[in-house]
Symmetry: C2
Subunit: 347 residues, 2 copies
Amino acid sequence: MVSDTKDNKTITIYDIAKEAGVSASTVSRVLTNSANVRKEKKERVQALIDKYNFKPNALAKGLSDTKSHLIGIVSADVRNPFYAALYVACENAARQRGYNVLLCNSLGEGTREIEQLHMLKQQRVDAIIQIGGRVDDDVTDKTFSKEVTDIVSTIPMVVSGKIEGVKCYSVVIDAKEASTLLTQHLLQLGHRKIALVGGRLDVFSTKIKYDTYKEILEKNNIEFREEYIVNGRYDSETGYSGVKKLLGLKEIPTAIIAINDFAAAGVVRGLTELGFKVPEDISVVSYDNTYIADLLTPKLTSIDYDYETFGKKLIDVAIKAAEGEEVSSLNPITPHLVVRESSAALR
Amino acid sequence: MVSDTKDNKTITIYDIAKEAGVSASTVSRVLTNSANVRKEKKERVQALIDKYNFKPNALAKGLSDTKSHLIGIVSADVRNPFYAALYVACENAARQRGYNVLLCNSLGEGTREIEQLHMLKQQRVDAIIQIGGRVDDDVTDKTFSKEVTDIVSTIPMVVSGKIEGVKCYSVVIDAKEASTLLTQHLLQLGHRKIALVGGRLDVFSTKIKYDTYKEILEKNNIEFREEYIVNGRYDSETGYSGVKKLLGLKEIPTAIIAINDFAAAGVVRGLTELGFKVPEDISVVSYDNTYIADLLTPKLTSIDYDYETFGKKLIDVAIKAAEGEEVSSLNPITPHLVVRESSAALR
DNA sequence: TGAAATCTCGAAACCGATTTCAAACTTTAT
DNA sequence: ATAAAGTTTGAAATCGGTTTCGAGATTTCA
């Protein structure tokens, strides 16, 4: 019979101790396997632990050893499948190492993020992982970095990217390689008129993608055209309005690189509406390879990151930092090209 | 200058007390506003709290008042936008009421869910919300309900749906109304050959949707055709293979109700591949109105639930139960029809 | 003005674990 | 047999808050 209660009240280490005829210290020792306990007693205690399916109060444990065994994750928005994938990978990795995860969604708002960081501090999380920073300008960079610096002085923080003016652990995607894969893929298919849709240049990784694209064009003696760059947000609306703008040009592009699958969805929608077929008329590729890439018609050619590895690395750094271990140098996450239906050779 | 540390060590209520020249009890009283404190002292203490941006240790507080101010959420998979939307709504509602949220993804596996429930118990969460139950048969119903009953005897649990053999609070969607909205919508557009794709009849809400559909057909003297029902999972693959089956029939349907937006995406893909246009040739509608509905081309007509209200209700019940308040009778969540591009009048 | 009622506030106990310390008990070596 | 060394164990302190209790200060009212 599985039961963790006796007289309908949560049992403690003292209840176990009493029933086993030993002291609480001994029960604790059995629980944590931290010191020798005579075999006979050990078995007696263990039997009771099993009998009641006893699990020590995490609050008391945390208070005692000043560790919560909780890792805080501040994500921009788990409703975004990119963050969701990364979050789940982190959760899995954390759980495997005996940690739990406290998730907060900042929705890109700086004030909200600061609030949540304070909350995580109050919860005494052992480390914080930030995936996807703020995009709102509701707080100045200076205020923000000051607040975050303050938090970081107490709790180790690892970021998937960078925070301006704050030094903390950072695990990044190799954006240069990602951009190279996509651009080269299109070049190999014969495309020369390649447009970029979505993303802000003040976002670190976006800037790298943009620079790399430009660099590769130059290397291949292809003219860079300012009008093929349509910056914006990271949503489908940006893709939609962006592609409409591109199709108004004298020389319309034959391929489009969207900043993520959302933007790509908007691009596909815009093209379809105007009677263009993907990929027959125009190829569309994107970053992130979320499940959206697989859901759209045609399925999207996209850049994948192996989210499990990504999450594991974030958690690994976070736990190492939390436990005061040395954190070895951090290699960036390697992107992979997944070719599907949305890209084809130029006709 | 924002700073919560002094001598690089986390400060406590005692540090504040010492510096203010009062006892820890007084600081606590100011902190919780639980008793009178002479104005002069109160201000002195408050000034220090502000100065250091002091936040009381949640572990200590939780241990002391035997409440963690944490609500555990067991979700099937936040990567599914339906659960993600509901989760974010819950998080918002919880935060607004001073609670934090501990998220677990069961991935539909019973063993994993049981494990996570135990973990949540160990964390001493004040209540548990389950959104999206298990679909794997890795644990028998009997074992599962026994384990869950055991947990529920200690921690109040609210479920968005039902758990067989376990009595706990339950907030459900009005599936009958949802099915009615969709079926009537198609009937009004002139459709008489309506197919159902995806979903398992042993899932409570799916069964209701199925029954309601049948009922409405009967009421309208429309022949019910077994071959128009293609059960399966809740993913796009099911939609894809389902629609292929339907298109092999002598009399192909003119409208398809997908069990969710994923299945609908698969249906649209299948139709497009075979040269059918949506909605010109065949209308496609679905349940859940996740952002996928807005992303596909054409945009999907779908059933929305007002996730904010849904989440708020779940949290409201959870907190009431946690605080020992009476939980009033629970009205089901009212669904709404959102008409977009994927449904059109029969030609 | 003095007794009664009300406020204010600190000491101490408590929540439930871990950990240090030293006493008591075993085992080993001479 | 006895000293030395090693093991096992419980009492007590600790983590950082909240809460009860009662003493002392203040206010109210006759």
